[in-house]
């Protein structure tokens, strides 16, 4: 059997075009459906019904909203940098689609008589390419904030850039362990390497860190500080209207789908069936794997919606502290542990050495945790020093003030 890279490499040009169109259509349709799905699910979480008027179950509500947006007046503020203002949503909308090029959606299938796989291209550094594209996508947000010539968009854009840079580090680090285990950065190879065990199980801490980082990366609740409507009006897209706003809207949802698809590929075995259903992979000539792929992507999408329905927005400093002081150090430590284990097993170290190392790491972590908790409790229980005179100026308490003189006679009635 040929590898996916060889399979795709043999594609004629027209098949590549068909696949590109399919990827685009899938992204747009998924976006429209997911906007509708999100509104329905969040509504149910709040004991509401959600959109149910346009079409059956309100299914084409998002489409109707899109048409409405496109027909609205397109404003460009006088203070805006016109070229950059127009360029920004285009950057956002194009980059988000590009990430999908390397996502393997099915195994070996037959498309118009050609044996191929539903993956537009397979490059040896596929995952790095996705990360790079995601970073370019931030330019859309930053430039939108900057070019608007307005305060709140600028703040939103700055927040967003700081946020995405911070969480991209954690995200990249969480992927390193996947590279170490699979020995490849190509998405199809990583999927193939998960034939036996999903990396969500083997590399559970990485999976958790990736899941948190991908929420931060896509500017979604509870990390939607870039468009915190209570603080920044609409954030970076405050000044945008009509189709340009629609492009940002589209980009946000395609981004969510893209990071979900990447999480599926890297941690949940990609297009492979869930354990115990392996026999379904050959159904419909292999096309049934598409079902498993989208099932997993939609699972992640549901998590996104669930988070939005449950958690309040974080404060900016807490958010940054969480990224830099928790996620990044933990990922680095985890990489060290995984790399050591991997090296030990590859060099054929005896089993007791590997187990001993793992047990040692667990004991050290537990010891650190106990010490940390003890220190915290000590600090909590230590009596606060009662200083009689504070070092700073304090206004006198009202009970000591003698100059306030409320009339005791009930006023003058004479």
């Amino acid at each position: 059997m040929k590898s996916t890279a060889e399979l795709i490499g043999a594609d004629p040009g027209w098949i590549i075009l068909v696949k590109a169109a399919l990827v685009f259509i899938v992204c747009v349709v998924l976006t429209i459906m997911s906007v509708w799905g999100e509104r329905r699910i969040v509504a149910r979480m709040q004991q509401r019904v959600g959109p149910n008027r346009v079409g059956k179950f309100g299914l084409i509500q998002a489409l109707a909203d899109g048409v409405k947006l496109a027909l609205k007046e397109d404003l460009i503020p006088a203070a805006a940098d016109k070229v950059v203002f127009i360029l920004a949503p285009i950057i956002s909308a194009t980059t988000c689609f590009m990430a999908f090029a390397v996502i393997p959606m099915t195994g070996e299938v037959s498309l118009f008589g050609q044996t191929t796989a539903m993956q537009l291209t397979d490059i040896p550094v596929g995952v790095l390419y996705v990360l790079a594209i995601a970073s370019v996508g931030v330019y859309g947000i930053v430039l939108a904030g900057w070019a608007s010539g307005s305060t709140y968009p600028l703040l939103g854009g700055l927040r967003s850039s700081a946020q995405v840079i911070s969480y991209e580090i954690a995200m990249g680090l969480s992927l390193v362990t996947v590279f170490i285990y699979s020995g490849s950065m190509s998405t199809s190879d990583i999927v193939a390497a998960q034939g036996k065990w999903w990396y969500a199980v083997v590399l559970f801490p990485s999976f958790v860190i990736y899941c948190i980082a991908m929420v931060g990366e896509t500017n979604r609740a509870p990390f939607d500080l870039a468009e915190a409507e209570g603080e920044l009006v609409g954030g970076f897209h405050t000044e945008y209207s009509s189709l340009k706003f629609a492009l940002f809207f589209l980009a946000e949802y395609v981004n969510i789908i893209a990071v979900s698809a990447l999480a599926t590929t890297l941690f949940l075995g990609g297009y492979h069936a869930i354990p115990g259903f392996g026999f379904t992979e050959s159904w419909l000539g292999g096309w049934f794997t598409l079902f498993w792929f989208f099932l997993k992507v939609l699972f992640f999408f549901f998590i996104f919606v669930w988070l939005r329905g449950t958690l309040p927005r974080l404060r900016y400093d807490q958010f940054m502290q969480f990224g830099w002081k928790v996620l990044i150090p933990v990922s680095i430590l985890w990489i060290l542990v995984v790399a050591t284990l991997r090296l030990l097993s590859m060099q054929g170290a005896p089993r007791f050495v590997i187990v001993g190392f793992a047990v040692g790491v667990v004991i050290i972590i537990m010891a650190i945790n106990i010490l940390f908790e003890n220190a915290k409790n000590k600090k909590k229980n230590s009596p606060v020093a009662e200083s009689a005179i504070p070092s700073f100026a304090v206004p006198e308490l009202p009970s000591h003030v003698s100059s306030i003189n409320v009339s005791q006679k009930g006023g003058d009635h004479a």
Binding site: I41, A43, R44, M45, Q46, Q47, R48, V49, W306, G309, T310, L311, K380, L397, P398, S399, V406, Q408, K409, G410, G411, H413, A414
Partner: protein, 204 residues
């Protein structure tokens, strides 16, 4: 000489004697406590929704809901409104306009001397407080439970007497017509007229 007001005696416990409340700092909750929130939203998805599918499904209002006004009639069809304008005077939003006129033997709209010739309620001004209903001495003006009052012009939202009058029911005759024979206006107000008399039907 005005009466001397007793000096204010200090209360037994003054506000300033109460020590500052000790606010209990619970600190961050444990990890599993924080996960409870996720269960709340997840479980809510399977609860019955509160939404009423309004234009298709209409839930009855509360019994005493303040809706559109209605000008009631006596049992023989004569109007209860006597054109006294008390409702217009009671109205805090100045939404009611009443012009009374004298009843004559040829043109009798209500028992007694006067009737409401012009009666308008402006629903752009009305705040549905019900003070007009409290002011009405003859229970001519009451409120229905009808709440679908939206419209697209200002003119349509000024309701005339014809829009507000209660419909004729069984045994009622369309005024103008004479009073029930042998009854005067006080009999009407006491509710002693239980229906119309054949002699009242002047069109026959």
């Amino acid at each position: 000489m005005p009466e001397q007001i007793e000096p204010i005696t200090p209360r037994e416990i003054s506000v300033n004697d109460v020590p500052f409340a000790q606010v209990e700092q619970n600190g961050p909750k444990g990890f599993f406590d924080q996960l409870k929130g996720f269960w709340v939203t997840f479980a809510t998805m399977f609860k019955k929704v509160n939404t009423v599918q309004y234009p298709e499904v209409k839930e009855p209002t509360a019994e005493r809901f303040h809706g559109r006004h209605q000008l009631n009639r006596h049992e023989d069809g004569l109007e209860k409104c006597i054109g006294c304008e008390l409702c217009a005077w009671a109205c805090p939003a100045d939404a009611i306009l009443v012009e009374g006129d004298n009843n004559t033997e040829e043109n009798r709209m209500s028992p007694g001397e006067r009737y409401g010739k012009v009666y308008q309620i402006n629903y752009l001004r009305c705040i549905f407080c019900g003070l007009c209903i409290e002011a009405c001495p003859t229970r001519a003006l009451t409120m229905t439970n009808e709440y679908e009052l939206a419209d697209d012009t200002r003119e349509k939202l000024i309701f005339e007497k014809g829009d507000l009058l209660a419909p004729l029911t069984q045994g009622m005759l369309m005024p103008p017509h004479p009073m029930y024979p042998g009854m005067d206006d006080s009999n009407y107000y006491r509710g002693e007229v239980k229906g119309s008399h054949p002699s009242q039907d002047i069109n026959k």
